[in-house]
Subunit: 270 residues, 2 copies
Amino acid sequence: MAEAESNPDSRNAYTLDSVREALVRQEDTIIFSLIERAKFPLNSHTYDQNYISIPGFCGSLVEFIVKNTEATQAKAGRYKSPEENPFFPENLLPSMVPYYPFSKMLHPTAALVNINKHIWKIYFDELLPLFAASGDDGSYAQTAASDLSLLQAISRRIHYGKFVAEVKYRESPADYEPAIRAQDQEAMMKLLTFESVEEMVRKRVEKKAMVFGQQVSLDSDENKGNKYKVDLSLVSRLYKQWVIPLIPSLVMVQSSKSIVAHAAVKVYKE
Amino acid sequence: MAEAESNPDSRNAYTLDSVREALVRQEDTIIFSLIERAKFPLNSHTYDQNYISIPGFCGSLVEFIVKNTEATQAKAGRYKSPEENPFFPENLLPSMVPYYPFSKMLHPTAALVNINKHIWKIYFDELLPLFAASGDDGSYAQTAASDLSLLQAISRRIHYGKFVAEVKYRESPADYEPAIRAQDQEAMMKLLTFESVEEMVRKRVEKKAMVFGQQVSLDSDENKGNKYKVDLSLVSRLYKQWVIPLIPSLVMVQSSKSIVAHAAVKVYKE
């Protein structure tokens, strides 16, 4: 029986260990999704604002897929989870699913932080042109669905930084209180991030891309030609250039503000 | 630059080589999707006919997600591709995407063969209970979306048998003509399937599950404990018990009927 890895205890506990395990597991999801998107050529019609003409809708095919899929998933309760953030939160209908006791660990200010508009822009402007091969095979809907899966995986990882920050604060609040009292974001960032850990993450992600991206055959020598399903250096670059910097520079700064708010309540109540 | 693997020449050509390459690549997608579904516990509310109450909708949460996602993807043209088959073809609106010259290689009878109702039943009745760990983490929408990705990957693979049969027939029509003229389905199946190839597929799939399902870390010895993200024997069993038998027993038989029809036209026109 496979092990359920998705926080079976999410009702209650985020610990340093569970958060670290989730981060590592999310890397696999991102790499699988990246490999799956790279299966398709660029399919530029998917992103053309003038390609489709659907009554009552204005935008590109990928916007059509993402907005409608998010609308469906919102009704099915996806965004009740504090780990999920929509790309188009405007006009989403509320969940039609009965109440579930998700963790209320995040301070309400942190729970509201959503930098998906920024992730969307970086994904389409910078990342996608690098790893999608040129070409057009007509499978625009499948391509857009594949973009959405990858975007959701990247977004989930980046926003998970909020839980990392919150857990680190809760593990040793005394370490953070001077910075919190001084509202010193730079000191807070120093406490929350470690260059050596980031370097390890980049290396691990590159190794995973090599393992998951290889052509597996029964002839064990077949991948000797180093033909991979994705460009390995790109996966490392995705983490180095976009995922890792986005976490501290956007989510963690904003989330550390909410830690400030969160902790300040405690500190000033003492 | 990554290589676009998704039939850049799908406008025209399916060859024995391109079809084989596609089958091998689809194994990766199925295993990635299986690993991603196994990330979640069973989340049985997802499949409960009485759990959600959405005005104008009657059914389980997974049916809600699949029907609505398919409706969106149908409008975006997914099912114009001869390689894609919906699970709920009833009431799907037509594509709103401009015409694309997909291959018309399949005989119209074969193009209409859709055994997704059967795949759906096997997936939920037999397969899912085997590989989803018990438990409930409240992420029903994500679980259902994950089921859909896996179902689409399995369905695509099984229905791809239609292209395999058609390509094999076209490569050497003379081999098939006696069986076609005699309408001898058993002889046709013998021509189309090979036990040794199926055995190789099962072994390769199990190897892929081991490679993609391993816990990758910078410490190369970490996976020594054989802790995998999915039960390896299950992936092999998925192919042995469900995917491979479904291809000849359902799609290929039905598709060979259409080869019969297709070839008969040619034969009798001579």
